[in-house]
């Protein structure tokens, strides 16, 4: 009986979409990968490597949208600077890939990347040390965004900065990093960023098999992050997070130190963004300061808004759909894309406050209420 109560007490368990989501995601991943690797190129079902890479990119964006949704949809903190964490994760991966080029660069220097030789630097800056080790670079891809989020969140949330002020500060944060990374003296390749990568842990980045593997790893990690986030948000921690979103001072008066909850959720979200960035870079083959641009961070918020904030699935679907639309649109009418994006945001805010998942929930509710009525009618 108590177990039953316990089960009920987890309430409107948000986990019911998790399994179908993971299964569908992994199934599509496997099918697409198999179609790329094992079908001949002239087959109707063949999936080109270009498409695989594109899909992988979408999944990275989906993971990033998940990170934004966790902090915005569940905790009500509108971060307009998540691009910063994404880009920092990306730079960590980029630095590793840069070191992997070795002496195959244009200048053929054994340790220094091309841009440093070009700038006439004699030795590697200290923060590039150790980046030739994959494990070290991956730790950095998680640690650096996490640390930045911790320091930023600790300062902001402890001083009880909320709402628009916080959004503006996050925006300023990513803009400051954009300007910093544009400088050549920073040692991150200036405005060209890091590119011309050759291989990752010994595998050729241009090979189909590497591309497919990266895509599959991205899908797996997305599934894992999704499940873990779902678990966290349906625990009591998640309930506290919702409580903070809806009535922060009330949560304080029942004994929760809301600033700490916000800081740790922010760090978690930043770490996910960092992982997404690290997966993104080997697939698109470049990372430059443009990723820090404030517009990118705002775009992420739009993905979440379109999909439906406050639902993890909504964030994933929103990111994939909007980016697919972007790919198509920019191919047909490159100049019109920003207008379309703006129009979409206005439309969603006005007519779909809960995004696409809101429509889905409405349809489900209608079906539920329609069914009993029908049975009553048939009885009558």
């Amino acid at each position: 009986m108590t177990r039953l109560k316990e089960w009920f007490s987890s309430g409107r368990s948000t986990g019911k979409h998790t399994m179908p989501f993971v299964v569908i995601l992994l199934a599509i991943t496997f099918l697409a990968s198999a179609a790329n690797l094992y079908l001949p190129e002239d087959s109707a079902l063949y999936v080109s490597t270009y498409t695989i890479t594109l899909l992988g990119k979408y999944l990275c964006y989906a993971m990033l949208a998940l990170a934004v949704d966790i902090i915005w949809g569940y905790c009500g903190i509108l971060s307009l600077g998540h691009g910063a964490f994404f880009a920092l994760g990306g730079y960590a991966m980029g630095m590793y890939l840069m070191r992997q080029i070795g002496d195959r660069g244009v200048y053929g220097h054994p340790t220094l990347p091309d841009f440093m030789v070009f700038l006439d630097w004699q030795e590697l800056p200290w923060f590039w040390l150790g980046m030739d080790q994959f494990w070290f670079a991956m730790i950095m891809a998680v640690l650096v965004p996490g640390l930045l989020a911790f320091v930023f969140g600790w300062l902001a949330f402890r001083s009880r900065v909320t709402g628009v002020y916080l959004s503006i500060m996050t925006q300023a944060l990513t803009y400051a990093l954009l300007l910093a990374f544009f400088r050549n003296e920073m040692g991150f390749g200036g405005n060209n960023g890091l590119t011309d990568f050759k291989e990752i842990v010994g595998f050729d980045l241009q090979a189909d098999s590497t591309r497919v593997s990266l895509f599959m790893i991205t899908a797996f990690l997305l599934a894992i992050v999704f499940v873990i986030s779902q678990r966290i948000l349906s625990s009591r921690f998640g309930k506290v997070v919702l409580a903070i979103r809806d009535a922060e001072s009330r949560s304080r008066f029942i004994g929760y130190r809301t600033d700490r909850y916000k800081v740790w959720l922010f760090v978690y979200s930043a770490v996910i963004a960092g992982i997404a960035g690290a997966l993104y870079v080997p697939q698109v083959g470049i990372i430059n300061p443009g990723e820090f641009s404030p517009i990118n961070s705002i775009e992420m918020v739009i993905w979440v808004a379109v999909g439906g904030r406050g639902t993890l699935i909504g964030a994933v679907i929103g990111a994939i759909l909007v980016n697919y639309a972007k790919t198509r649109f920019t191919a047909i009418l490159p100049d019109a894309w920003l207008f379309a994006l703006g129009a979409m945001f206005v439309f969603v805010t006005l007519y779909l406050p809960k995004g696409l998942m809101g429509i889905y929930a409405q349809l489900m509710a209608k079906r539920k209420t329609a069914k009993p009525q029908k049975s009553e009618e048939s009885q009558a």
């Binding site: 109560k5 409107r12 809806d246 009535a247 001072s249 008066f253 029942i254």
Partner: protein, 287 residues
């Protein structure tokens, strides 16, 4: 403060140095007083919201605070619960917990619960979740992440649901409750936290006569085991529950005593009761 004064302050014989006290120590009520408010001053831009306010509340007492708008009732609660910093004075919970150097969360964990004027519940979550969140447990981040409801806790929630009469609505979203029910849920959230001291701001605002009666019953039943401080404008309600009433006026205590004493107190009649007094006399002084 001169050097000699601060030295004296440091060696006060009735206090232990803060660093020697455990913040988790039980509330010491050897002297039967659970809340000491002494010499509290607070001004907002020159307006004295609290003016040398002194108030002692006994353990297990049900105390009503009344006073005109701006008398400092809510401000006093804000200071006690750590929402507002005061300019000078001291607030002690029991003999050993100085509330002025603690934040809201620490004060809540000591066992001081507060209900606001406007009911604030977590609207997007169920009644059950609301109560679960307010249970008396370790509320730091990691234990909360891995916490599970124990059978005792579920029983406690059921018990509270019964007391506040929301058993039927256990899985309803709190946002869908009526105004009166939200007030009750908020009181339930206080109860679930198992507090020593309850600060209740206008509990019957917007309630029907029947609900008001039930609230009065509940509050009187709580006193004894817990200490309850109620701020209320509804004189009828105060009359029905109060044993001791404190009248605040312009940030300090004007009078204290039973309802009868208060009603015959000259100062009080002058500044506050006025017409109410005449009406009560007409009714034959039934309080």
């Amino acid at each position: 403060m001169s050097a000699i004064e601060s030295l004296r302050e440091t060696f006060r014989r009735d206090q232990t140095w803060p660093m020697l006290q455990s913040s988790q120590a039980n509330v010491n009520v050897d002297k039967d007083v659970i809340l000491y408010v002494e010499g509290l001053n607070l001004s907002f831009d020159g307006f004295k919201a609290l003016n040398d306010l002194n108030l002692y509340v006994n353990d297990g007492e049900l105390r009503c605070l009344i006073g005109a708008n701006g008398a400092g009732k809510t401000t006093l609660m804000d200071v006690i619960t750590g929402k507002t910093q005061c300019d000078s004075g001291s607030v002690f919970f029991g003999q050993n917990h100085n509330l002025l150097n603690k934040d809201e969360a620490a004060i809540a964990q000591l066992g001081i619960g507060r209900k606001f004027q406007k009911p604030t519940v977590f609207e997007a979550q169920t009644v059950f979740d609301n109560l679960e969140l307010s249970l008396k447990t370790d509320k730091s981040v990691l234990p909360t992440l891995f916490s599970r409801l124990s059978p005792t806790q579920i029983d406690r929630i059921d018990e509270v649901l019964k007391i506040i009469g929301l058993e039927q609505h256990r899985f309803m979203l709190a946002g869908a409750l009526s105004h009166g029910q939200k007030q009750w849920l908020e009181i339930g959230m206080l109860l679930a936290a198992d507090p020593r001291l309850l600060l209740i701001d206008e509990p019957v605002a917007g309630m029907t006569a029947q609900e008001t009666e039930r609230t009065a019953e509940l509050l009187t039943s709580l006193a004894g085991e817990r200490t309850v401080i109620v701020v209320e404008h509804d004189m009828e309600f105060v009359r029905s529950i109060a044993r001791t009433v404190t009248v605040l006026h312009q940030g300090s205590v004007l009078a204290e005593g039973t309802m009868d004493e208060i009603q015959s107190n000259k100062d009080v009649i002058e500044v506050y009761l006025g017409e109410e007094q005449a009406e009560a006399n007409g009714a034959g002084g039934d309080a």
